[in-house]
């Protein structure tokens, strides 16, 4: 019974494809996969926007949106219908293009943003047997299409002919390139252990249980370090607080999409959130066992539910961090990437080598943990020593 529930969508798709004549089957199969992903994740995006507003409201001791429920009824659903008026508003707003803007590039930028983000979903395993295309070089494909997002950010910033847009785009590109390195290096650790770039192989190698606990990579010292590094880097990649300098409202009025309004702004917003979900999905697949259950007695729960539960939990952590931490300064951001994240992820790769060649046992645990923790302590001390916190002195203001 649970087995059928687990494979429900896979079987459903096979049934639907079975109705089509054999010649059109690959095309229909691809179309179904391609249309379901944007639909599911756009719905998730709509849900998460309300969730984020409510969560931040609660953290700041407010209610958050709690009025709009099902339209034309009195049912309020704790305000989770809020995305309907938000969507209608942003889709019906006037689309303003500045006179000095480069019209073609200005138009293309949101499209270029959304396409690679949607492409990235094709390699993610959402559940057992639920991957659109399982490339042999899946992780590489993910990072390759992720690189195209920077280009769209540049196109948006440059074509707007606005100094704030340009500044925001430059900040975004510098930040994304800097944090892509620790992101990829922390993913390399998993690839080294698994020996494959295929995401399904990565999930399969974590799909086992010892004493009821799953073999997730996050339960090893290098995996924990790698996951934290990956998490911080993905915060920066998706431009979330505390790394939201590219769209800092108080400094450069929303950065590269300052000059976007209406539908194009909605596309940027959607692209940003979809990119965040994609990168979180990759993090789940690499370190948190993908669609596998954390404990062996919970394996009866359908696999895709595990994936989305982990996704929402991590998104909530993103929101929690957003409500807690203030924005970094540009030099702090770069220092953190190059002087802390990069050395630590390199040491993490060395640790994975050590882990691979040492015999299993407590000694391996101890040695690897000591290596990572020692590096962390030294690098952290170096990072802290730079800033002698003192009372701020205003030299020119008084």
């Amino acid at each position: 019974m649970f087995k059928t529930l687990d494979q429900f969508f896979v079987v459903l798709k096979h049934q639907v494809v079975g109705f089509v004549p054999a010649a059109g089957q690959p095309l229909v199969s691809a179309l179904i996969s391609v249309s379901v992903i944007p639909l599911v994740f756009a719905t998730l995006f709509a849900f998460i926007t309300v969730f984020e507003r409510k969560g931040i409201g609660r953290i700041q001791n407010r209610y958050g949106p709690n009025r709009v429920g099902i339209p034309l009824t009195k049912i309020r659903l704790c305000g989770f219908g809020q995305f309907i008026p938000d969507g209608i508003k942003s889709l019906t707003k006037e689309d303003i293009v500045p006179r000095a803007a480069d019209k073609v590039v200005h138009f293309l930028a949101p499209v270029v943003m959304l396409i690679p983000v949607l492409l990235a979903y094709t390699v993610l395993p959402f559940g057992r047997n639920m991957t659109v295309t399982d490339f042999d070089a899946g992780v590489l494909f993910f990072f390759a299409v992720g690189g195209a997002v920077e280009l769209s950010v540049f196109m948006a910033g440059w074509s707007s002919h606005n100094k704030y847009s340009m500044l925001g785009a430059m900040r975004a590109i510098a930040q994304m390139i800097s944090y892509e390195i620790p992101l990829i290096l922390s993913a390399v650790t998993v690839i080294m252990i698994v020996g494959s770039l295929k995401l399904n192989d990565i999930v399969a190698s974590q799909n086992g249980y010892t004493h009821g606990l799953a073999h997730w990579f996050v339960f090893t010292p290098w995996g924990l370090a790698g996951f934290i590094l990956f998490f911080i880097a993905s915060l920066a990649e998706s431009n979330r607080t505390p790394f939201d300098l590219p769209e800092a409202e108080s400094e450069i009025i929303a950065g590269y999409f300052t000059e976007y309004s209406g539908f194009k702004f909605a596309l940027f917003f959607l692209g940003e959130y979809l990119g965040m979900f994609a990168i979180i999905g990759l993090g789940i697949t690499l370190f948190l066992g993908g669609w596998t259950a954390p404990f062996s007695f919970l394996t009866w729960v359908p696999s895709y539910l595990w994936f989305f539960a982990k996704l929402i939990a991590l998104v909530f952590t993103f929101i929690w961090i957003r409500a807690t931490l203030p924005r970094l300064r540009m030099d702090q951001l770069m220092n953190f990437a190059w002087k802390f994240m990069l050395p630590l992820s390199l040491v993490n790769i060395v640790t994975v080598g050590l882990w691979h060649f040492m015999d299993p046992g407590p000694l391996r645990w101890l040695a690897c943990s000591a290596l990572i923790f020692g590096t962390y302590a030294i690098l952290g001390r170096g990072l802290m020593n730079h800033q002698k916190l003192a009372k701020r002195i205003y030299r020119f203001a008084d």
Binding site: V105, D136, R392, I393, R395
Partner: protein, 188 residues
């Protein structure tokens, strides 16, 4: 040749031509990106999946951004009313036309070219990695050295000349207000 291949090839060639002929440098860089992405698609059509992804990762993700940054860093206000072509542009076009004619003639008249495509070989990433670590290990090491050297060299070349200048600025600031403690937490 499949129709997809022809379409991608035409798009690639048009984008390349645009990259070489447009007036606005940023437009040139963006059409270069299209050309490079088209090349990646051609690689995919030729069953070279790994190379196609690497092409996108390196060219679209890194080299294109580098070029765009260079364009923005070297913006000069004097160029617009000048011509974009060098004085001897006619000769350049002629040379490249001759090159293309020669290459094309050679391609169309070579007798020994294989006609049919063999069965696609199994090119997993694992195979590539094994080869890189066994047969091609020396080139790999050399490439690693080259990349390190290029990295250091690029940083040194593009570094701001003169730490003296920065020092003198600091001294000026100190001379302005000798008693004030160094700026803390402020923007530098």
């Amino acid at each position: 040749m499949s129709p997809a291949f022809i379409v991608i090839a035409i798009v690639t060639l048009f984008a390349a031509a645009a990259a070489m002929s447009l007036r606005n440098l940023v437009h040139c860089a963006l059409s270069l990106v299209v050309a490079l992405a088209g090349l990646a698609a051609l690689y995919l059509a030729l069953d070279a999946q790994f190379v196609g992804f690497v092409q996108i990762l390196v060219y679209v993700g890194a080299v294109a951004i580098l070029i765009v940054f260079a364009v923005l860093l070297t913006r000069s206000d004097t160029t617009p009313n000048q011509t974009v072509l060098s004085p001897g542009w006619g000769i350049g076009i002629a040379i490249s036309a001759v090159v293309f004619a020669t290459l094309g003639w050679a391609t169309l008249n070579s007798p020994g070219l294989p006609k049919e495509m063999l069965q696609a070989p199994e090119t997993t990433v694992k195979n590539i990695g094994d080869l890189l670590m066994t047969r091609y290990v020396l080139p790999l090491e050399v490439i690693g050295l080259l990349l390190t050297a290029a990295l250091i060299g690029a940083v040194i070349i593009a570094m701001k000349e003169g730490p003296q200048k920065a020092n003198s600025e600091e001294q000026q600031l100190k001379a302005e207000k000798p008693s004030s403690p160094p700026l803390q937490g402020g923007a530098r």
